[in-house]
């Protein structure tokens, strides 16, 4: 915004006390760059340590992002399938979503009425990926999701199961980041699986079973074990009762 407006000199003094321009605002309060209408939470730069270490422990930086405060709801997903008919249940390509796609919806355009503001589930990775793209966003990577919602100290609590579905990082405790008791898709959900899938069903990393205690960064983080184990059992076309998603985008 151009402040060098031609005004009478008398008023210039008054204008001199105007607040800084919007661009300068964003530089000092980065959180404002995330959209409150889209219910995003600003996640500052952070770190991620892969739960299963390779040769040595590594800590990776995670860039700041605008992460959806809550998983995508049935209502939001309904809008998406209205505008993207290829994702309606009766028309979906089977290779992109298995038979139980939107199994709890009454029909193509009728989610369960009592769950409109609840997370959408029975959606595949392909569907989630497409949804996020339609919003100008993407699925979070495992590193990003874990940085935001995989808090380890809480996981050492006595009942890991409640924590397995997420616990906000300490610096996000006061944000409206919500975890809704479902698993969530990530962009690279099978990154923990080293050897990839093979038709002989020998594809999962053998050390994910009994040997995993050695390779895990923290063998008392049972919540993380559950999360990583669950991710490694997924295929991109799976549509499960307690698996939903949220989107993220880089903070501008």
């Amino acid at each position: 915004m151009n402040r060098h407006v031609a005004v009478p000199g008398l008023l210039l003094g008054a204008f001199a006390s105007l607040p800084l321009s919007r661009a300068e605002n964003a530089a000092t309060t980065p959180a404002a760059a995330c959209s409150t209408e889209r219910h995003e939470v600003f996640v500052p730069a952070g770190r991620y340590e892969p739960f299963y270490k390779r040769a040595e422990r590594r800590v990776m930086p995670v860039a700041p992002m605008c992460l959806a405060a809550a998983p995508v709801t049935n209502a939001q997903y309904l809008e998406f399938v209205r505008g993207h008919p290829q994702w309606r249940r009766s028309r979906v390509t089977r290779v992109f979503a298995e038979e139980t796609y939107l199994a709890n919806w009454r029909d193509d355009l009728t989610p369960p009425p009592e769950s409109l503001s609840e997370p959408v589930t029975f959606v595949s990775w392909f569907a989630a990926d497409d949804y996020c793209e339609s919003q100008g966003a993407r699925l979070p990577k495992v590193s990003e999701w874990e940085r935001a919602a995989g808090r380890q100290a809480a996981a050492r609590a006595s009942t890991p199961f409640a924590m397995a579905m997420g616990s906000p990082a300490a610096d996000l405790e006061r944000t409206p980041l919500q975890l809704k008791g479902i698993w969530e898709w990530t962009e690279d959900f099978n990154s923990a699986v080293v050897s990839g899938r093979a038709s002989g069903a020998q594809g999962t990393d053998p050390s994910l079973f009994c040997g995993d205690g050695f390779r895990a960064v923290d063998a008392s983080d049972y919540a993380a074990f559950l999360r990583y184990s669950f991710r490694s059992s997924l295929h991109a076309d799976f549509t499960l009762k307690n698996l939903g998603f949220r989107c993220t985008r880089e903070a501008p």
Binding site: T100, R156, A157, S158, T159, P160, F161, A164, A201, Q202, G203, T204, P206, L208, F209, C210, D212, G213, S220, Y222, F225, L226, Y228, S229, F230, S232, S233, L234, H235, F238, L240, K241, N242
Partner: protein, 488 residues
């Protein structure tokens, strides 16, 4: 000239032994036909295998995560193969080819798999069967070795899956079968790590801290407190041979399995195929392992099954029962033959009795004077079962606190202390079915301890005198003649 060496060479080749099949690979039997796997729920096992060939066995296991009762009033979300922990007992034959389909119910929350200790192959099937909710996976394995084996989930974190109940037993009979017995049962010992203390009612959850420190609240047979007690006790008749297939799913504690009053004629140590020890009182069952014990039911009566680590039996639920019915064998075991006063005229010195530990907030303070004989007796004899605060143990030992049994009929209470008590009893609306020993107390002591109990633990009742006890003894003597005169 030239052909000769060639001929010689050729004959050498023919004479020389063929360096062919490796001696180290196990030969496999030919498979004939196919059948569904024989499986039964605890504590019973399928009948012995009769076929003399290896077959293809079709095995379907479904994993369920659901809430069940761990103890009276205590709920826990079990993860089970089939409906219960332990999963069904599977009985197959050496050489069988087992086509296994593992299905993960769509309502389940986590991924599961199965590791058969009887299978030889990576993960015992763990990788091949790893499957998300709403899906199933199939793989096939050959039962190359006979024995009694555990099967269990080994998805990460494996300890949690075991601690939630995902285990069972599979018996691979040797080709020639096992010696015939009259009765067969199976028992799997396992632990539960709940956030609440033993017996605390309501919904309980897995406690990671207790698990990592190997301090379970529950150590139980066949998945819950009382699974082998009361009407669920194992039963046999005198003269019958009994084999018990034992498993220990842990996940932490080795079991010292003992049947009170019995001796195992044979033990197949660690669930192998050789009866490698005889005349054993207590056998070890390793975690993730098994054992088989055989005995003959000689003497009728009630026999407690325990993990001989005694606080597990008394305080954590590692107790079951075997009822042996039949004629008495007084030439083997007489039962009580005589009872008399014993007063040697000497006196014994003891450390001064300390007041019992402060009771739970709900229980009223115990009223006892220094040197109170009733209090002394209670602390010495009664607390082991009825607990210092008189609350007993859920499903096993009735409470004395605010007991309707004590309030109703003082003579019945005196009788219990004179004779001991066996069989069903209902106290404060709950049924119990156990055995209380006869402590052979003299009348003065019975009066003292009963008076003590009746004026404490929230009870209210008049003092019992030695004369009351003598009166009840008299009534009992009239009702049945003294032991010497009974036909034996």
């Amino acid at each position: 000239m030239k052909p000769f060496p060639l001929l010689a060479l050729a004959s050498l080749c023919c004479i020389a032994p063929v360096h062919g099949a490796s001696q180290s690979s196990t030969p496999v039997e030919e498979i004939r036909g196919e059948e569904r796997a024989a499986m039964t729920s605890a504590p019973f096992v399928p009948p012995p295998i009769t076929r003399r060939y290896a077959t293809k066995v079709l095995l379907d296991l479904e994993v369920k995560e659901h809430t069940k009762q761990l103890a009276d009033g205590v709920n826990y979300t079990y993860w089970t193969f089939g409906d219960d922990a332990p999963g069904k007992f599977i009985r197959i034959r050496e050489g069988d080819l087992v086509q296994t389909r593992l299905s993960n119910h769509p309502d389940n929350t986590v991924s599961h798999n199965v590791d058969f200790h009887a299978a030889t192959g990576p993960g015992g099937g763990g990788e091949a069967s790893f499957v998300a909710p709403g899906h199933s996976a199939t793989f096939t394995w050959r039962a190359m070795r006979p024995g009694l084996f555990l099967y269990h989930c080994v998805a990460a974190p494996a300890g949690l899956h075991l601690a939630n109940g995902m285990y069972g037993l599979i018996l691979v009979e040797p080709k020639q079968g096992l010696p015939k017995v009259d009765r067969e049962f199976f028992i799997v010992q396992g632990e539960f790590y709940t956030d609440g203390a033993y017996g605390e009612p309501g919904d309980q959850h897995f406690d990671l801290n207790k698990a990592i420190h190997e301090e379970p609240e529950y150590v139980v047979f066949n998945g819950r407190v009382g699974a082998l007690m009361g009407e669920n006790a194992l039963r046999a008749k005198t003269g019958e041979s009994v084999r018990i297939y034992l498993g220990n799913a842990g996940p932490s504690l080795v079991s010292s399995f003992h049947i009170v009053g019995e001796i195992f004629d044979s033990v197949y140590g660690e669930g192998g195929t050789v009866a490698n020890q005889h005349n054993v009182q207590t056998t070890i069952v390793p975690v993730g392992g098994s054992a088989m014990v055989e005995m003959v039911a000689d003497v009728a009566g009630s026999y407690q099954l325990v993990d001989h680590s005694m606080f597990r039996a008394f305080n954590k639920g590692a107790m079951g029962a075997l009822q042996i019915e039949g004629a008495n064998r007084p030439e083997l075991f007489s039962g009580r033959q005589a009872e008399e006063i014993f007063n040697p005229g000497t006196h014994l010195q003891r450390v001064a009795m300390v007041a019992s530990t402060p009771p739970a907030p709900a229980a009223p303070a115990q009223k006892s004077a220094p040197g109170d004989r009733g209090h002394e007796l209670y602390s010495t004899i009664c607390t082991a079962c009825h607990q210092p605060d008189g609350r007993g143990m859920q499903g096993t030992f009735p409470p004395l606190a605010q007991s309707d049994f004590l309030a109703k009929d003082v003579d019945a209470a005196i009788r219990v202390l004179i004779e001991g008590r066996q069989g069903p009893i209902t106290v404060n609306g709950k049924a119990y079915d156990g055995a209380m020993p006869n402590f052979s107390l003299v009348d003065e002591d019975i009066a003292a301890v009963l008076s003590y109990v009746r004026r404490n633990f929230g009870n209210s009742g008049a003092t019992v005198t030695p004369a009351d006890v003598r009166r009840v003894r008299g009534l009992l003597a009239q009702a049945s003649p003294p032991p010497e005169e009974q036909p034996q």
